[in-house]
């Protein structure tokens, strides 16, 4: 058993012809005595041979240069005006100051995050606090005298109907009122048809 594991450790070097004459002789003697190692080596050799037959992809000669150029383009473009770049010294000073300030302010950072910034990240959404009793709502409005054929029976059906009204309603009017503008920079919602200006009204 010890011989087998020793033999397997040399498989790679044997394939590459990178072992000594003594090692080669020992391994070949082992192959003659151990059919298991022999067949294992055959599998390895066949695999390596078939991999070697695969077509090789050659990189274009200007590959390196093009890649570097792309990386440079990907960095944000500066403003249109060429501005003087800050010298490294003040930048280093500012960076170290920022680190110091950050260390000092770290204990307060958590408190800040809970403020308006956190509010921005996840705006609150509408939510139900109690299921309104359907009966109490329906009771407030007079029931139609004749039940219309398209009228839905349950609250769920009405909800589905509301969706369909918003999304596919041909007989639905999307509201945007016309506003009439006067000569003297006055404006109000148009409440009457065209002849309304001549109409007689009391107020």
């Amino acid at each position: 058993m010890r011989n087998c594991s020793r033999a397997r450790a040399w498989f790679g070097a044997y394939w590459d012809d990178e072992i000594t004459q003594a090692e080669r002789e020992w391994l070949e003697a082992h192959f003659a005595a151990c059919p298991k190692c022999r067949s294992e080596y055959d599998v390895l050799a066949r695999t390596l041979e078939s991999v070697a037959t695969l077509p090789r992809i050659e990189a274009a000669p200007d590959f390196t240069e093009r890649t570097l150029a792309r990386v440079r383009r990907a960095t944000p473009a500066a403003d249109r005006l060429a501005l003087p770049r800050p010298a490294w010294q003040p930048v280093a000073v500012a960076a170290s100051l920022l680190v110091i300030a950050g260390t000092l302010l770290a204990p307060f950072a958590g408190r800040l995050a809970q403020g308006p910034i956190a509010h921005r990240m996840a705006p609150p959404e509408a939510r139900l606090v109690a299921t309104p009793a359907p009966g109490s709502l329906a009771a407030r409005e007079p029931a139609p005298a004749v039940a219309p054929s398209r009228a839905p029976q349950s609250q769920e059906q009405v909800a589905a109907l509301v969706d369909s009204l918003i999304d596919h309603g041909e007989d639905v009017d999307f509201v945007l009122d016309p506003v009439r503008v006067g000569h003297e920079r006055t404006a109000s919602r148009r409440l009457e048809p065209a002849q309304g200006r001549q109409a007689v009204i009391s107020f």
């Binding site: 800050p86 959404e125 509408a126 309104p132 009017d173 404006a187 148009r190």
Partner: protein, 391 residues
Amino acid sequence: MRTGALRLLVALAATLVLAAPAARAQGTLSALETDVDVILATTRPSVVTVVNVRDLDAHKPGAAARVGSGVAVSENEILTTASVVEGARQIWVRTSNRLQLRAVLVGADPIANIALLRIPGVELPPLRFATSRPVRVGDWVIAVGTARDVHDRSAHSLGTVLFRHRDPRLPLWQLSNAVYPGLGGAAVVSARGELVGLLQGELDPASDGAGAADGAAANASFMLGADDLRNEYLQLRRDGRVRYGWLGVTTRAVSVASESEAGATVPLGVEVLEVAANGPAARAGLRRRDLIVAFEGVPVEDPMQLARWVTASPPGSAVRMVWVRDDLRRDGRPVLAESPAAVPQWATSVPVAAVVPGGAPSGTRIADLERRIERMNRELQRLRSSSADGR
């Protein structure tokens, strides 16, 4: 030690000065885009779609249902326009996270075109009224609401505040925002994400006023500002209605043909046809055949406009009015009474010509004739085309 600290300070100041332009490298436009995204993300949950279910068996456009926008101003209260909920049998509200809720109409004011809805059992994220900094001309604003022609029915539009109209009551702000059907009742928010107004509508194409001359006709939209909106909200919440002023007059428009523009008319004012006995107008000295020309320092052009201003004035308030009698200027300060009607008749639908002593005014007759001529023309055209097909 001292010079060391001084050097450090100088270096720090230099860094700040030099680093400032680098921080702007993101570009102004993309920064604007980011800001708009942030405002929308915070505003959107407060904006709802309002569905006014009228008659589901009706197959005429708008007869079955009306859809508009609304905005939450408290946990369970929504402001929208009165025209969105007009004639509703049921009102449903859909939130941005697709909750569908039945709403109760608390009250509506057709004069200011504002309605207040309440939804029991819900917690909405309300928008704050812009009280810290009132809206000004030139401010950037975003209209957020529902629109028919937009993906997912969720629309927003960026623009600026152009100017405030001169109406002495309920003045509208003109905006440059592009608007679409369905944005009636949409929230108009400032760059701070505060509610600066409620979207009312778009420029009436038939408007013969100064809209086009202002060069703003292409994208003219209108909002009621936050101050008036808040006042409406408080009154509707407290009383379920708004108390209207009443002058006690019956009027019609008077205009003359324009000399510079053929076919155009120049409004002169509003003629008093009748004065209610012992009403505010009668007590202030207004008489039949007087021509009212100004209200609170603003020229009066037509009866609807004057009626809107009078009605929107609180009962008991004294209003400055100017009128002409026998070519002489007169003025007075009638103290308005409270309107007997919950909703003034002139604001409900097409005004019906009142019975006026001395016969109907010529204006109504002309309009009637014009309509009949138009109808006959259409009939004639139809006959011509059908006879051409028969040949």
